[in-house]
Symmetry: D4
Subunit: 228 residues, 8 copies
């Protein structure tokens, strides 16, 4: 493509430059990060994406964002826990990824981040399964699920506090493991820093990490893997 061709694929609004090259370069359309944007801005971007591709995903949606998007797109699905709004294609195509993306959570309080990951993985055309509240305080909760872990294609492990679960999971399986630290905790958890550092220092070879509470990023990485 020439610079001019590329330029035509960038749609310039007053407050945003929408990049319609993304499906070509990164394999999927832009996802709308609602935080710091007004409901009006979010809806305007969603309209362009829906017009171009028949679908959109919005993350970190506050109630006002959800309301605005639902008012404009009646078919859009809101996940309250995961703070997402997803307009699926109509009809929704079958998953294209090779295996299953398994989302494992250490505790009940980690569920919002896990749901963000699960919705994103689905929107990126992956089969998704969940395993909930299997943190290391009672190690047999995860050990009794070893078969489930080993049958997954990619595993996302969501944990706050001391963030030990990805090491235990990573030691039980051969498949890729993506660790998501959450801000669950208090005091010296420092908003998820304790879990983040634990995951970065995992003694298990081959665990990778994303930002604190970044369920979206973990799912995007899992989808890259699942489609590679």
């Amino acid at each position: 493509m020439t610079h001019d061709d590329v330029g035509r694929l960038i749609e310039r609004l007053a407050f945003a430059s929408i990049d319609h090259l993304r499906p070509h370069t990164q394999g999927h359309a832009e996802v709308i990060f609602c935080s710091g944007k007004t409901p009006g801005q979010v809806t305007a971007i969603a309209e362009r994406l829906a017009a171009a591709g028949g679908e959109f995903l919005a993350t970190r949606a506050e109630p006002a964002h959800v309301e605005a998007l639902r008012a404009r797109f009646s078919r859009a699905e809101a996940n309250e826990l995961g703070r997402t709004v997803y307009l699926p294609p109509d009809p929704e195509p079958a998953p294209t990824g090779r295996g299953t993306v398994l989302v494992v959570t250490a505790g009940t309080s980690d569920l919002p981040v896990a749901e963000e990951a699960a919705v994103t993985a689905r929107a990126l055309r992956n089969r998704v399964e969940r395993l909930t509240d299997v943190g290391v305080a009672g190690i047999h909760r995860i050990l009794t699920q070893t078969d489930v872990l080993r049958s997954a294609g990619v595993i996302i492990v969501v944990a706050g506090m001391e963030g030990a679960l990805p090491s235990v999971v990573g030691g039980l399986v051969k498949v890729p493991v993506i660790a998501v630290p959450t801000s669950v905790g208090y005091g010296a958890s420092f908003g998820g820093v304790a879990a983040l550092l634990a995951m970065l220092n995992s003694c298990v070879a081959g665990v990778t990490v994303v930002n604190i509470d970044n369920g979206f990023g973990a799912a995007a990485a899992a989808s890259r893997i699942n489609h590679s």
Copy 2:
């Protein structure tokens, strides 16, 4: 397996418990992390691993470790820049991973970490390619290599200082991208923290991160992906 079966696969030395279950659980044998171990301890562990599997990989090898391992295993290959000693199987089997692991480095000073990654990826049965000194200060250095990037199966991006290269690479390709921050820099790089934070906060969806200078971990993750 029963607890007793498992117990028999753990070989207890005075200073180490060698875990011969690893190939079964994680897909490859234990790798020897030399830092904080004496040359004698490293050699003793290498002997057990070589006896069990006909190969070993040692990382973070100081000159004394290298010397001890080379004295005992004449066939072992030392990579001075990457601080590794690798005893390949004889004969070395063909790579089993689906695609190529491409190791991209931002600057010349990042090469030691990149070499650790490259040797590890090879030892874990992957085809490896390298792309060196293509940091963002001269953005055309990486842009002219877009085809190389897109033909890889997994990309490891090694960068210090502001750690911007993984975002640029991640924006150009659909395949999995693993970012490795290095301790290259000074002052407010804080031993690689600046690059680590940049990578964790990448605006590109689907970049994952490993610990500072952890070329080994990046390669282990790439190999999990490449074999999944």
Copy 3:
């Protein structure tokens, strides 16, 4: 000037010492930083500045500050996004700076900081242009604007998250580049620290940095450059 002459140019209120020497020493009058001041204090200072120079600029104006200033100065212009109130001279003089101050933003959420910079640059007698939402996730968004970048006199680059845009811009141009990290992001962005560190560690020679979210300071620096 004697100490007595200087003393007469400092106007002492109960809660502030207004420094009418500033145009002589720093090239422009004091700017009112509203944060931590009451609307009454802000208005009182604005009155002294307007009386002395026929203009004032107030930054970090909360709605109560805006309301109080607009009530007192009907001609004052409020920029809601940039949180500024500006009373231009009547008539507003032509810009005196040599070139154009170009304000580049990485994402939509960085706009408030960019607007603070743009309004300040105008108030300090500079021509101002804007380039919005051209972050590195889609690198072609900025690459297709290289001519715009190269025609500027000074460039202010506003970015949050991993703060990579100033390095890319700085590598494309010869002119001065001022980087402004923003607090846009979450988790390990630590309120803008990730972007700040990235910018301080830029591998591009000659990028300078101001405080997180300090659009005002960036514009003041740009204006010093543009008038030097």
Copy 4:
């Protein structure tokens, strides 16, 4: 005791005030922390303690400290790995603590801290046992030792890197667990901070923590528990 009685139990040297009240208040004599003291100062303090109680323990002993103490006290026992010098009473009395102090280490590199703990626990009159290199990367290494863990009176768990082992151990037993983070690791381990934070944020109720590399403090706490 009157202030004068107390005063007579404090022996004032030029560089130290030796507190012969310690056995009365804290249950054992002062222990000599060699770091930052000259060999001469250490030996002088050891002489006072040996004269008063027939025994002493010195920790963080550099080779020069060891040499000076061994020259003066031929019966003193040096533990090279643990950097301790211990002059036991002659004859050494039987342990007085109720149960066994079990020292568990995650990896080979954690052994110096574990040895400091083991020697200290012995000097404070406790039975001591060790369990080595049972970190979570191969979770079955610790799971096959559950009976050993459950038979201990107090458990000290020594771990670096992500510091996950105390949570796993604490979840398997009812007895007190003291976690010792070590400075083993690199990059974002920040000299043991990652392990420290993980341990402070353990999701297991009732794990307590001491300073990084503080094997001595862990043993002193274990001994207080074992004698309570």
Copy 5:
């Protein structure tokens, strides 16, 4: 127990995996950490625990949690200061721990954390006593209580600001001392970090530490000690 036996003791709800093995492994049932859970989730877990064991303890209970639990369990006791809701067995059994758990607080503002500790210690079957507002600013306040300190079985010391009290207490007694830093303070107390660091660096041998504001964890540790 077989894996199947273990599996039957884990009760899977949609949002939680309740671990009925805890009394067997850790000596007491799971405690409900309310933070980040909805009142409905908390009540549902409480019902399972009450059904299985006739009692439950909930910590970090917000008013909505308290109201929901009190509506469902009329016999449940709320401690407003300590933010706990406790349903004692009926009749409440006598304490089973060997000695008294003494909860010492440095200042009035530390009381919420101290109360969480006191309620937890009671729920775990310990005799509890309190000593309040005896911080080091007036050292005689604690010195005149030396006899009380020495008669305790385990001491929990709760302090914010400079966190010096555990060192002073630990120097006066032989029994185990658990230090709890609180987030009481401002400025460079950094939400309790100053107190936490002080406690980790105590010059007194044998003081152990729990997370900031973690009165629950301190009591759980004290109970492990008191029952060992």
Copy 6:
């Protein structure tokens, strides 16, 4: 005094141990730190102090504290900016300190901390003077006040942002200078940390520092100096 005499001077309430030894040991009665206490607790303590000494000072008083104290003590004086409530003795005695305590502030936003210092210094029997908004941006504002600075007995310098004023003041005078960093600023001021670090690293010999926003502590130190 015997331990029993001392014990009688400590008045034990349910939530506080009031230390009536303070005037004897530290030269003045306890001051009430309202933060984290209920209005009822504050009033109860104020009553004991007023009964014992005819006066009290309360700091960090929220509106509810002010209202409760004013309702109970009609003669008490509230300083809204400084968040203090002071009941002076009747009649108020003359200052007893040797010289004047001069409170210097860098900017208008630092006034709350400066007022807390000024009220405290008065309550501790010192003459107080103020010098306001003389920060280093316009260095002549402080230089023209050199005579005022040199006539003080002790100087308290209150500054946020880069905290440079204490160094400049300390270089101009021989008298003691106490630096108070404030949380005024944003971004990389980190709630006053930037100013705190600057003050601790002052290149001027003999500047001492108190906690961020601790106007009370600065005044207490100044009063110790002024009465020594």
Copy 7:
């Protein structure tokens, strides 16, 4: 230029990609950062740069780098204090920048960073002047040099410890001021962090900042300004 044209301007060595586009894009050739490179690598890069442009500048040169470069390029000038090696063009052209770059240092210990800045500014074709040891402890040292400050085109201010000098200088002049924090100091200077934060938080409008000890970057920025 086409991608192929660009590709030909990038010279690929085994360990480096030399970017001969830099004079076109950034206004000057690549500068060699010696840290982390072998003397052989540095010399090889210097040869390519000298061949292409007849000059080179190497910074952060250790003695071994200096020796290797001097052995190969007899005309190269080493600045021991500034750790630079500069091969000027022959003959050296006249400065092309509009004004003078003035390098101001707070203390003698800051000189190495100041010299790196001065040599770099000269190599980038600027007139350079120096003003040394004029820190704020004796404020008259800088005040008596106000005329020198005001006659400069751009000012680089190099300071460690509390980093206050850029604020004072910035308040005295209208021209651009670039602040360079140095790692001079101890304790809570944290290797230059205190100075860095102070400079980022300057209350003077229009001071910009570079990384700690980054004299090179300050000079590159000054040169961009001086040539704009």
Copy 8:
């Protein structure tokens, strides 16, 4: 004085601007901070100071500095522990401060910092006394010295680790207390940060703090107080 008069009192060397105004402004001559200066630079500055005032004090003197100064000034006194070289006036005048400066140290390892303080206080014309190794681990060591504490004019308290001693001392006396944190400790002492934070958060009113290991600064502050 005019600007010209002031200018004549500043002696400009190539690497330093010696400020002979200091006795007039700050009460004593400049003190030489040796760190980062060559022995030749230190000796040159010492010569100017000795010529002007007949005395000098050098701190942070490495052995090479000591040797150079002793070679040039045979009468100069080196304090090895405190790393100082002091040339007293001949004859040495009587102390001029009002009271005694008492230097209290928590442990033997804190002595270097305490000696720096003691030598500095003497050089600034104060009577000096010392009290050594009286840390809070054995609280009676300091309590039995209450009379000594109360007879001092100013107290400097030097402590590392948890830094609790200044709070205890401050609670026992009315006189000014200056706290000096030291870098004594390990792990989470973070080079003295734990002690620094503890001292800044002291619950005792009126304790002020200087930088980590800054015995010189504490003595300078004490001398300002003692001469005010």
